[in-house]
Symmetry: C2
Subunit: 198 residues, 2 copies
């Protein structure tokens, strides 16, 4: 006898981040009791996405085509290139800013201890783009973790050897945040990097 489809569904749902035994049960019962169409649609969407979504050959972001929408668009400038760690960062920047340049997605960060070197992040591909596309500025938007900073340094050297300008996202206290709840290192950095008030 094969595994019970209900148990199998509970088990499979737990591959989703943040879903434990109880949420899996709630999800399975909700779909079975009230939304079988939604469940079928999700099954199809998952199968299609897992099969068709791959990396854009220019920027390594997720896409179901050869090149992603942003790389294909002729309304985006090739002069400014924003380098991020993950596709989620592209979505966040697109949602928050009016940035009209292009992206490069590392899909990771330099981490020699984990054996992740420049070639794993597609930095050879990035180098080719810098040589060919007339990029004037690289916005380095890696995370502000130790590995993210190391990756940022590496990118800055790549850019400098090609005389390309680099910038890094401003760091400091978050907007709307309360000083008393800001973590110590952020506060120390913001304090020492204070700017003249205009």
């Amino acid at each position: 006898m094969s595994a019970d489809p209900f148990d199998e569904l509970l088990e499979a749902l737990r591959c989703l981040p943040g879903v434990g035994a109880r949420s899996a049960q709630r999800m399975a019962l909700q779909l079975l009791e009230r939304d079988r169409d939604g469940g079928r649609r999700l099954a199809d969407a998952l199968a299609t996405a897992m099969r068709d979504i791959r990396r854009c050959r220019r920027c390594r972001n997720f896409t179901s085509d050869e090149e992603c929408r942003i790389c294909r668009s002729d309304r985006r400038s090739s002069e400014v290139l924003c380098v991020v760690e993950s596709p989620g960062d592209v979505l966040a920047i697109e949602a928050a800013t009016a940035f009209d340049g292009r992206y490069f997605v590392l899909l990771g960060r330099l981490s020699p201890l984990d054996g992740i070197g420049p070639e794993d992040l597609g930095l050879d591909l990035l180098g080719e783009r810098l040589d060919e596309e007339g990029v004037a500025e690289i916005i380095i938007a890696t995370n502000t973790t130790v590995e993210g900073e190391a990756t940022a340094q590496y990118l800055r050297e790549m850019a400098e050897s090609r005389s390309i300008r680099t910038s890094r996202l401003a760091q400091g206290v978050p907007l709307g945040g309360e000083l008393e709840h800001t973590d110590r290192s952020t506060l120390a950095h913001a304090f020492s990097s204070r700017l003249p008030m205009r």
Copy 2:
């Protein structure tokens, strides 16, 4: 051009209870970046479950066979029948108790205002079972909501007309709960239903 598979996946994930735009994005990126096998497995499990899982013809619980595991088992007693509102209640009782009788799942509760009458809850099927199976006691485990109580009353009358004993789950303050955080109506009920201490 058809819809983008990534957007389609984000939209489809939101049919899951408790999943909004941000969690959907987190789930989609996690599966695409780190767990495509898990994503494929979930797609298969969902498709199978939505297609194969139906109602047990005896107790109306979910099953992928004609009859569910509990109804098929010959180690469960036919003398005590526990009536619940939903398949989730069966799972909860199975996990918490050593109950070895059988179940009947209403898949809803009486609610005349919503047009839900006895026939929608399979009470004709329940009546047949009561007439045929020699049930000695019905444990009425509907929720303690207004509709759940009305349903319980209806079930009690069905049982009494057949001289079958009924019981209802004990109501009172939860174990391990603090009185000060118990809701007012539960506390009032528990107070007036106090029992001699042994």
